[in-house]
């Protein structure tokens, strides 16, 4: 792979807008899951943030339905950054500084750099109506996808750095997993039987290996199909056993950015029984 190919992959990427549009809908729904209840207007009568809360609802609703998508998604991203960095880090709302909230905010930022209203949106509906009135063919669901590459890089870097962070004796010995198990489930009594030791070692090493594999393998079509299944399960287990809030569903959504956009488009066509004319980049 040459630098030219890498640059072409990163900056020259174009393709179907369906994947990023699905991400728009799902990420905004996740943003609501995380923050919408906290921003209900009556909660902010006294603290002067009622106007911000109202803006949040307007722009996120527009982004969800895909109305003025680039603008509304950018505004949504700005709102999430305000929540994480101003209210969270500066004003001390500690819960807003957690990793799952930060990931959600930056995912919105990168998604705002994509043509995320190109499909499944009011914008698309209006574009089709204009084309019909003018007697022109429907506009293509197509656009520049360098923002989707940033989302894929973010996904990969999360796995890479979290795996690096686990490369220490505390984690690889299984001790940290024992801490989590005791903290959430069994209390201060030791988990020190030989069976526990084998399970904790095995889970610790396989988690780190899977995270390294996900960090690099998501960029390649062949390993990706298996790694995505393993990753979906991994995050499902995280959600079921630990306390990760919106992290699991955000990572599930981000996997869409790791797939070839044409592949996603074709898959949706197939689901709808439409023979697809799209050719995945990997088939070229």
């Amino acid at each position: 792979m040459t630098w030219k190919a890498v640059a072409s992959w990163a900056w020259g990427a174009t393709g179907s807008t369906r994947a990023v549009s699905l991400m728009r809908i799902a990420l905004v729904a996740t943003v609501w899951t995380r923050w919408a209840d906290d921003l209900v207007l009556f909660r902010h009568v006294a603290d002067g943030r009622m106007a911000f809360a109202a803006i949040f609802y307007v722009v996120t609703a527009c982004a969800f339905f895909g109305f003025l998508s680039r603008v509304s998604m950018t505004a949504t991203a700005a709102c999430t950054l305000y929540l994480v960095y101003y209210l969270g880090h500066i004003k001390g709302v500690e819960a807003y500084t957690h990793h799952h909230a930060t990931l959600l905010a930056w995912s919105c930022v990168w998604l705002a750099c994509t043509p995320c209203g190109g499909s499944y949106s009011i914008d698309r509906w209006l574009a089709i109506r204009r084309a019909e009135r003018a007697g022109k063919p429907y506009p293509e669901e197509h656009g520049y996808l360098w923002g989707a590459r940033l989302l894929a890089l973010q996904t990969s870097s999360i796995y890479f750095w979290t795996a690096i962070n686990k490369c220490n004796l505390g984690f690889l010995s299984g001790s940290r997993l024992a801490h989590y198990g005791m903290y959430y489930y069994t209390g201060s009594s030791p988990l020190d039987s030989p069976v526990h030791a084998v399970i904790l070692h095995g889970v610790a090493w396989s988690t780190v290996l899977l995270e390294f594999a996900l960090a690099f393998g998501l960029f390649f079509a062949k390993p990706r199909r298996y790694l995505v299944v393993a990753g979906l399960l991994l995050h499902g287990v995280f959600y079921t056993l630990l306390s990760v809030y919106t992290f699991t569903v955000t990572m599930w959504i981000l996997y869409l950015a790791c797939f070839d956009a044409e592949e996603v488009h074709s898959a949706i066509d197939r689901l709808q029984g439409i023979p697809s004319r799209r050719v995945p980049a990997s088939a070229n």
Binding site: G170, S175, H179, S188
Partner: protein, 114 residues
């Protein structure tokens, strides 16, 4: 991520002496009358501070009787794994304070353990 979770956690086991003077493990739950450990109060089930260990040990000493001994093996959860805080050498029933450690008095909530 998640690396800061579960660092305020102690692992603890207790031992006492049998009639022959041999060390035998003590189940803190059955000694204190908690038939279901998962329903025991948080400060019996999941210990997070030395104060909680001290208070629990003294309650267990009371249950064991006036001349009993109670030893604790205590480890602290850290990012690098377990850090041993007590190796079972101190008899908590005989000690009036935790040797070498300053304990902040624990205020017990009226009518409850947790």
């Amino acid at each position: 991520m998640f690396s800061g979770i579960a660092l305020d956690l102690f692992e603890v086991t207790f031992e006492t002496l049998d009639v022959d003077g041999k060390r035998v493990p003590v189940d803190r739950f059955s000694l204190l009358g908690y038939a279901e450990p998962e329903r025991a109060p948080r400060n019996v089930r999941t210990l997070k501070t030395r104060n909680e260990v001290w208070v629990l040990a003294k309650r267990m000493c009371t249950q064991l009787g006036p001349k009993a001994s109670l030893y604790a093996r205590l480890r602290d959860a850290t990012r690098r794994g377990w850090k041993t805080l007590e190796d079972g050498s101190i008899d908590f029933c005989a000690a009036r304070t935790w040797p070498g450690k300053e304990l902040v008095p624990v205020r017990r909530e009226p009518g409850g353990d947790s």
